[in-house]
Amino acid sequence: MLKDLFTSAHFPPNKSSEIRIQRNRTRSVLLRAGNLVSNSRNELKGVNARVYDKGMYGFASANEISGEAIDHTVKCAGDNAHFLGERVHLNANNLPAIKKGEREPDSKMLDLPQKVYIDYLNELNSIIEKRYKNLLSNTLRVSCDSMEKIIRTSDGMNAHLVAPRSYVYVVLMAESKSGAPVDIFKALGGSGTFDEHFTSPELLIEELDTLYEKLMKKAEGVHADAGKKTCVLSGELTGMLSHEAVGHTVEADLVLGGSVARNLLNKQVASELVNMVDYAHTALGKPAPLPIYVDDEGVEAKDALLIENGILRTYMVNRDLGSKLGIEPAGNARAYSFRDEPLIRMRNTAIVPGDSKIEDMISSIDDGYYLLSSGNGQADMTGEFMFGITEGYEIKNGKIGRALLETTVSGIAFEMLKTVSMVGDTMHWNSSGYCGKKQMISVGLGGPAIKCEISIGGR
């Protein structure tokens, strides 16, 4: 048993320390225009240790899982913390203790042969080629990643965690009315193993039909009229807004780095209709898309209520910054691989649903846009954000109009959120992407549709 490698003798005395054994497994298959252009399997595992000494962290990792490797990384991490400690002279106290505990995994690191993924995509490609005559091309990808962690801290948390994710990404391409290529994208799947989400490609036909229909509308699409507009953002976009434009500004490391939220705690930052939570493992009575039970500092995870009735209530912290800011850690310290130290990260960040119906939201707008999907998003510490819009429609006199060609929306989060006048009643989750902040990490983004004022790009 890997857990047997741990003994208390590994921890340096009187220093907050963690040891983590971790395995990351990825399976990837890419089919481009029916050709298998990538067929790869990857597995990385190892051990790491982090030691806190006089206000400085030392970290070390090795790609070997053994008692000797643990001893080596603990010593190296301690030496690194000492190296900084004796040069910086911060002489901070040890970190406040955290709760002891035990956690066993509720998933398994199941694996499937590569043939399963390849056959699935080949079959999916045949369906697409036969069924949709006006396509220029398609790209299909299977991406499965699973992560297993065994965490032990000097405070007495012992946790064994397993988190698999499986996705099929579909890109359909066609020619627009002007002869230029256009595309549309959909990610399917979620937390769990591939066979839990995908059995027969035939079962995706309804989703594919909808996607194809949307692409045909987009091929006839028009440019958005640039400027500030009244828009309905779908739950997918609300999730991205929650994560990119608000979530990052309230991560404590970025708060101390100068984010706009440093002056906004307990102030009105959004319409009273807006509530936002970084959910740990359960949201609205159901499992969150990427449940986190214990973080990589050994902290038992709980929800972080970020915005309550429009008022900013807290920041997301790790143990070190929680202690400095007087905020109790909620389990936001997460690392991607055995080589990585835990950073303050979001988990499942969402605006909480309200009570408006999507039909009422659309019918309340005379001239605006209904924006549904985004290809990417970026945000700044000022709260300025940008999302690329890959699927959107005009709203004219309360009715959905023509499809839009690709465009961009932007704004300043804490100004834009004050314009929210309706919040939809249905939660939409998305967990297919990664958040990049030194390391990549899987995150869940969620929310209902919202009606707001937002700047849209275009011609």
């Binding site: 481009r32 252009v37 040069r87 100068g258 940008m386």
Partner: protein, 431 residues
């Protein structure tokens, strides 16, 4: 080196013994030391010891690839078995290829890690910024040194031995005054040594002083087509987007590349020259061979505005009956022009300078829209103020055919070299 050579050689022999016509192994062993500064304070020293083995095999025209870091005897055997199974599962495709011309090369670059020097340079940089730019906060600085040995070999007598040590510096800054903050400005540089102060590195002073100037901004008034100067990182980003969408193997195979019939024809302004050159003097830790085992060579993608070559690997080239690019590296060299940045600015009556573009990947036809970040207003030939959020939109093909001028000055970040580009035809929309 001998140890990882044996490991790689054994793995290749096993793949061949089990029916692979071509097999390759790439074995990496490295140590990374990384110093972190967060919010102006030292926070972490991180050391990682790492080894990985990547295997590829082509068996009856079926290709499989695997990688892992368990280099025990059982670990390597499991990886070999996975690679064989993976290729057995793939469909036959005669486009897969591996270099079959024997070639042996040894490369050695850079310097070993000096942790004390890393700390000293970081401490000195913090002091320099505080003294010269008191309104600037170092949100994050990461200085790392990577020392690695790598062996690539295949069963056709190809072997490359590389040992390399280099530093990598990533810096994110912002300006702060009272309750006001600027947007983030960031950059990344690769270096073989830390001989000079960090603040003296190419483009660093410009980055930091820009963050300070961006604290107080004004909106861009109006909407219309105005001249835009793309700072080197933005120009490089737009070039990357254009080449990915219009001239890459993936877009050619998908049939969406709008330059698919333009090889040997003019596609952009004649003043534009873009090459991939791993051996350019500014490049640190270059790509020395392709994933198929061919020795890397530099090549011109755009020569005097003409599309000279696609960016295409062997597989995609074989699939499409084209010639493959001689490297799959990304060391982009955009040739400088003959106008100084000051002259580019002085020639503009009203326009903007964009230091960063926040817009993501443009549509496959090259249409883009996004936010001009860290942008400045140019009026009557001078930079007059920093701009708040301003949207820009246009088309990449049109943009690169509407060049006003290209600067003499370039930014060299260790992975590329890029000038400023002044262009017409971009729609700028303010408030």
């Amino acid at each position: 080196m001998e140890n990882i050579f044996k490991l790689a050689e054994n793995a290749v022999n096993e793949l061949v013994k089990n029916g692979s016509g071509s097999a390759s192994a790439s074995c990496y062993k490295g140590e990374l030391n990384e110093l972190n500064v967060d919010a102006d304070e030292f926070s972490l020293l991180r050391t990682t010891f790492d080894s990985t083995l990547s295997l590829s095999c082509i068996k009856q025209n079926r290709k499989g690839s695997v990688s892992g870091n368990d280099l025990s005897e059982e670990g390597v055997k499991a990886l070999v078995d996975e690679c064989l199974l993976s290729s057995d599962s793939a469909p036959e495709d005669s486009a897969w290829e591996m270099c079959s011309t024997p070639n042996k090369k040894e490369y050695s670059f850079g310097t070993p890690c000096n942790k004390d020097k890393m700390f000293e340079r970081a401490e000195e940089f913090l002091l320099n910024v505080k003294k010269e730019y008191p309104l600037v906060t170092l949100e994050q600085m990461i200085i790392s040194h990577c020392q690695s040995s790598n062996i690539y070999l295949n069963n056709h007598g190809v072997r490359y031995d590389t040992s390399c040590g280099f530093y990598h510096i990533m810096i994110t800054v912002l300006g702060r005054e009272g309750e006001k903050s600027s947007s983030m400005s960031y950059c990344s540089r690769r270096l073989y040594d830390l001989d000079k102060p960090i603040i003296e590195i190419s483009g660093l002073r410009q980055l930091i002083s820009s963050a300070e100037k961006q604290i107080h901004t004004v909106p861009f008034v109006g909407k219309g087509e105005y001249p835009v100067i793309l700072a080197p990182d933005t120009a490089g980003e737009f070039v990357y987007y254009a080449l990915s969408n219009f001239a890459s193997g993936g877009s050619l195979l998908s049939g969406t590349a709008i330059w698919k019939d333009k090889l040997g024809k003019d596609v952009v302004d004649k003043r534009i020259n873009i090459s991939i050159d791993p051996f350019h003097p500014s490049i640190v830790s270059p790509t020395l061979y392709t994933s198929e085992g061919y020795e890397a060579k530099g090549y011109d993608i755009i020569k005097d505005g003409m599309l000279n070559s696609f960016i295409i690997d062997r597989y995609h080239a074989n699939k499409l009956g084209m010639e493959a690019s001689p490297t799959d590296g990304s060391e982009a060299i955009i040739a400088p022009g003959d106008t100084s940045l000051v002259d580019l600015i002085s020639g503009i009556d009203k326009g903007i300078l964009v230091e960063r573009f926040s817009g993501g990947m443009p549509a496959i036809d090259g249409e883009f829209s996004g936010v001009a970040k860290n942008a400045f207003l140019i009026e009557k030939g001078k930079i007059t103020s920093a701009l708040s959020e301003t949207m820009i939109s246009g088309n990449l093909e049109k943009l690169f055919n509407s060049i006003i001028g290209i600067s003499k000055e370039t930014i060299e970040d260790g992975g590329s070299s890029k000038p400023y580009m002044a262009v017409d035809g971009i729609t700028v929309s303010g408030v």
